[in-house]
Symmetry: C2
Subunit: 664 residues, 2 copies
């Protein structure tokens, strides 16, 4: 049962798709006091699930999370904000309650940080909707929430293939080399991502003509090799007279304005830029239309970046900094307070809260200061694209995922989890974040496999791939200046190939489960506790996941580990793909088991009376035979699997022919 409580005059975020009438009473969790705070008691064993893209474990208890979309590449466990704002959680105690705060500004969730025994929600302002969902179980509450926010985005089938990316591919020839080396090593691949260097001077909706001469021909050439090129689109539009996107935006007042009504200037990758006012309907339509420029050249997928929106600096801020530096400089004996103030001055330049108060949106003619709706920018940028795709290609799925997001955006695209690091702890974070994101409707998601920042190691790439084969978005991505991590860069390439092959063998199941989760508002990734709520040990699990209806995974995420402890909440059959393949593996009894996991193997567990349909693989998704399937099963009494498959590119999701039953 959902109840909505409205405070003040909330901004219409369009996060939800159902119109729930607001209650005529105060929210029962409102705390008495001067400022608006919602408060919940927690018993010792209560667990908090959700909050989407955040640090820490599956159980979010014990930290303070702040929804405040932020381009911060150091995702350490003491960070309060990452790129997204996902204000939904479920508190599971003797009863369970789901809470969604529809509020586009900064909001704090103190989940047992200040006091282990309470949750406090502290919004920055008092115009908001809070939805309270009571239900029989955590799963039913989440399902009700998912129905409230609408169906999750569905990408094309090829986007479930493996993708290679790196910030630093500067020319068509460099991209050709990546494709060639994958194909000559017979490592399956379906996409290569183009980071900012494909553009002409980082200008959105341009292609560098020197580095990528005849782009449409190049797109075609790659597609003939069954490789999709997926270009990046950044939030900021370069200020450059004569550049059409800039000229149109400026002429039509489609950019965010400063307080004097001038187009707001900020510096990002292209240097000085304006931000398209994606909260303005007309500007949004205009910006979305621009994606057509690349679609007309054969592009079928995009990733939206820098849309927190990230700010390197603003002139007004930098000018002030330089003035302040002058004072330090003239100070002959800089003391320590000066020294720390000087450092803070510089550290405070990018993504400054002050800068977010310096520009405005035009929302139905009303001037709205950015910081009050800050968390919506990535959502609305992605919505701009999604609405354009619907307009120009109503019957075709286009790949789209974003860095920044807010609940509601999940209907228009997925996300990747941003600029992580080549840290083992970020492999674990990837595992733990997946169900939280699924809860918020974000199903098409994954992390940068191998890690984006800092230098990776061969073993980290392998272990990350072994988890990544299960994430809908499976992309290897890294930053310029770090160790190259395309799979052919390592001595152990042959083993990595086996892991990617396993992905393509698993695709019929993974795609079927993804589609059922999307179409039925279910979760693709689940903590064990959702499926086994009465099993105390399953409830405690923080590093195993259910993937779809048949499979449980227990990834290895520590360096030099040869195996790990795995908890089976019921008897399961252990399956191995890759090195030492065993499709009809040992049945292990409910309980704890120490499992060896060789480096080039994917080891997972099949539930009793469940089926796993496998293909024979392929070097790209098109080569995969989704019809003639190998049926792996663990039958105790009887096993039936409802298999979903469709053409992978159209939108005839409800066609009964997409479903068929598979029996063991």
């Amino acid at each position: 049962m959902i109840k909505r409580y409205t405070y003040g005059t909330p901004f219409q975020t369009e996060a939800v798709v159902k119109n729930i009438i607001s209650e005529n009473e105060l929210c029962p969790y409102e705390q008495k006091g001067d400022s608006l705070i919602f408060r919940f008691d927690m018993e010792e064993n209560d667990i908090v699930y959700g909050l989407g893209e955040q640090v820490r474990g599956i159980n979010k208890r014990g930290w303070k999370y702040i929804s405040n979309c932020n381009d911060d590449p150091l995702h350490q466990e003491d960070k309060h904000s990452l790129y997204g704002a996902h204000n939904f959680f479920v508190l599971k105690g003797k009863r369970a309650v789901g809470i969604f705060v529809d509020f586009p500004g900064k909001i704090t969730f103190d989940v047992g940080f200040s006091r282990l025994d309470e949750i406090r929600i502290i919004p920055e302002r008092t115009d908001l909707d809070i939805y309270v969902i009571d239900g029989e179980s955590v799963s039913s509450i989440i399902k009700e929430f998912r129905q409230l926010i609408g169906r999750s985005y569905i990408p094309p089938l090829w986007a479930f293939g493996y993708g290679q990316s790196r910030w630093g591919y500067k020319t068509a020839d460099e991209v050709r080399t990546v494709a060639k080396r994958y194909r000559e090593n017979n490592i399956p691949i379906d996409s290569i991502y183009l980071d900012i260097d494909y553009m002409e001077r980082y200008k959105d909706f341009t292609v560098d003509k020197k580095a990528f001469a005849d782009f449409p021909a190049f797109v075609k050439e790659m597609k003939e090799q069954k490789i999709h090129l997926v270009p990046i689109i950044d939030a900021g539009v370069k200020i450059e007279p004569g550049y059409q996107v800039y000229e149109e935006g400026a002429a039509n007042n489609y950019f965010c304005k400063d307080e004097d009504g001038n187009d707001f200037v900020t510096a990002v990758w292209p240097g000085r830029t304006h931000f398209p006012d994606v909260l303005n309907e007309k500007a949004r339509e205009w910006f979305g239309d621009k994606y057509k420029y690349l679609m007309d050249q054969g592009i079928e997928g995009f990733w939206n970046d820098m849309n927190e929106p990230a700010i390197f600096y603003t002139d007004v801020h930098l000018k002030k900094v330089f003035e302040d530096i002058e004072l330090f400089k003239q100070n002959d004996n800089m003391d320590l307070n000066d020294w720390f103030a000087f450092q803070d001055l510089i550290k405070g330049i990018p993504n400054s809260e002050e800068d977010y108060k310096r520009f405005y949106h035009n929302v139905h003619g009303k001037k709205v200061r950015h910081d009050q709706v800050h968390n919506l920018y990535g959502y609305y940028m992605t919505r701009a694209a999604g609405e354009a795709f619907e307009k120009y290609e109503p019957d075709k799925r286009i790949l789209m995922f974003s860095r920044s997001s807010y609940i509601g955006m999940h209907r228009y695209g997925g996300i990747w989890t941003g600029d992580n690091k080549s840290w083992w702890s970020h492999l674990l974070l990837n595992i733990q974040m997946m169900p939280s994101l699924n809860m918020c409707g974000i199903l098409y998601t994954g992390a940068d496999i191998g890690g984006f920042g800092s230098d990776t190691t061969e073993d980290l790439v392998k272990r990350w791939l072994a988890f990544g084969v299960f994430t809908p978005l499976m992309r290897n991505h890294s930053a310029q200046g770090t160790r190259e991590q395309e799979l052919y860069q390592f001595i152990g390439t042959e083993g990595m190939k086996k892991l990617i092959e396993a992905r393509y063998r698993l695709l019929p199941y993974l795609y079927s489960e993804y589609m059922k989760a999307a179409l039925e508002d279910e979760l693709y990734f689940r903590p064990l506790s959702f499926d086994y709520p009465d099993d105390e040990m399953a409830v405690r699990s923080e590093d195993q996941l259910m993937v779809g209806e048949s499979v449980m995974i227990a990834p290895v995420y520590t360096q030099n580990a040869k195996g790990r402890n795995v908890y089976l909440p019921e008897d399961m059959k252990m399956i191995t793909l890759g090195e030492g393949e065993e499709l009809d593996g040992t049945v292990l009894e409910k309980g704890w088991h120490y499992i060896d996991v060789p480096m080039d193997s994917i080891v997972f567990f099949l539930r009793p009376d469940h089926i796993l349909p496998l293909s024979t693989g392929g070097e790209n998704v098109e080569e995969v035979d989704f019809e003639n399937l190998q049926v792996v099963s663990y039958v105790k009494t009887d096993a039936v699997y409802q298999y979903y498959h469709d053409d992978g590119c159209g939108k005839d999701y409800q066609n009964p022919e997409n479903y068929r039953l598979i029996r063991a």
Copy 2:
């Protein structure tokens, strides 16, 4: 068997105490090529132990470590250097070999990073000694190495008590409040640490007369409460005419010089400072003598900080930065390269490699550029103190631990592991680092419990205490501006008290084991694999430790965990202290067990035919009865424990009366 190979003309670090004659041949691990590199092959299951204070696991394989003492407070897993330089490791494969590179400059240990199957040691210059130790086992190699480097430092007994610290205690009254609140809560405590604020304008060997009027009386007042005050000493000496330490150092050329022969100027906490030239024998003696100023006021322990040496900035560097900033400022349209260069410019100011090339030591009359002996500074600063203690108090132990260190310093003091964070991953790092440090002779050590930087949580403090009860140095320390983490700051103070009480119960065993480890060149903390080298599962263990001869620990280091999997390499008896005390607990069979670990409990495991002597506790070390002991045991056939105890303050270590046998 130890072999020494000498290359060039090594700087005499005095890391070792035995004179091994150099071989007349090249080191067999030298790689042919233009530059000096030592290279080792690794098989798939080979393990690398050692390297002291470094990130990552007990098995160091899979990363690149650089000995380059560095004041970097972000100990993430991609860092190459922390505060210490500990160039000793053991490679354990079919055979085992121990390697110690006695080289005081920058040196890289690529331990399976570039290639999983090799180790490469790359020194910055070619003047060094490399010691190769072959032995029967990892343990025997380590013991031989420890005999080579000499006996580990032994602190006074009271330094095994619990200590409270925080950067931010500004007055005697604030310290009194800490003492009072511990005593009124009856939480045992033996020391309160004074961070930089006790000094007058951060000047070494001064006391702020306003904040700490009549310091000797205050020291005495605290000592009457059985609390030792432990002041910090920083490396840099403030430049302040009239300040005696400055005047003496300047008059006698006891400070490091710049290339023109002037006293080198750098900025650290006190503002402009000089570095005492601790590599100059006379200067070292002079600086060591200064500790007497505080000893004469009743102080019996110190911690040496900022001795990498840390540099905030130098004027010459800062001047250049301001000049460069001017160029950016004048640039009307700062482009991205400028922007990143500008940021790097500022980031590059502290602890700059360039600055370490700007000053010189006077070593027996020879001018030695600092960067070539950089890793010795903390060692020699601490040695300065140690030699003074020996001179003025030859029969008394003085507490001393340092932030920066090099092998050799372990004879003069312990270390704490520097400015960690309130991260769960740093609790694990603390666990994993302990045996590596012990291998390098550093026995008196521990981490800042609860975490120094960032905000802690109640559960993190508790779990960290539950491990910290086993570390010889048990200190809660935190940074100014972070959440206060004295144990009385939390709702769960009562539970924390139970954990501290357990420490005092355990003291007879912990002290006995510490002393035996120090006197017999053994390890206090050991990976399971050292004791059970043929047990494959013990060999894999990365998160359990042997503590002394009787005990195995398996700390909980993940948030919200109610327990964990524990591997028993043989049958053991589970003991619980604190909540749910059980001294005669369940005997568990060899193998894996999932163990519940309640929040206010310390759960550990007793080996068969071993004894754990316990005291009845006390509110400080003096109150602990080390004679009348409770004997906890797990007897299968027969158990005898060699118990060591002494007066805890003198140095009559070899007195046979210090030993007695305890039988179950």
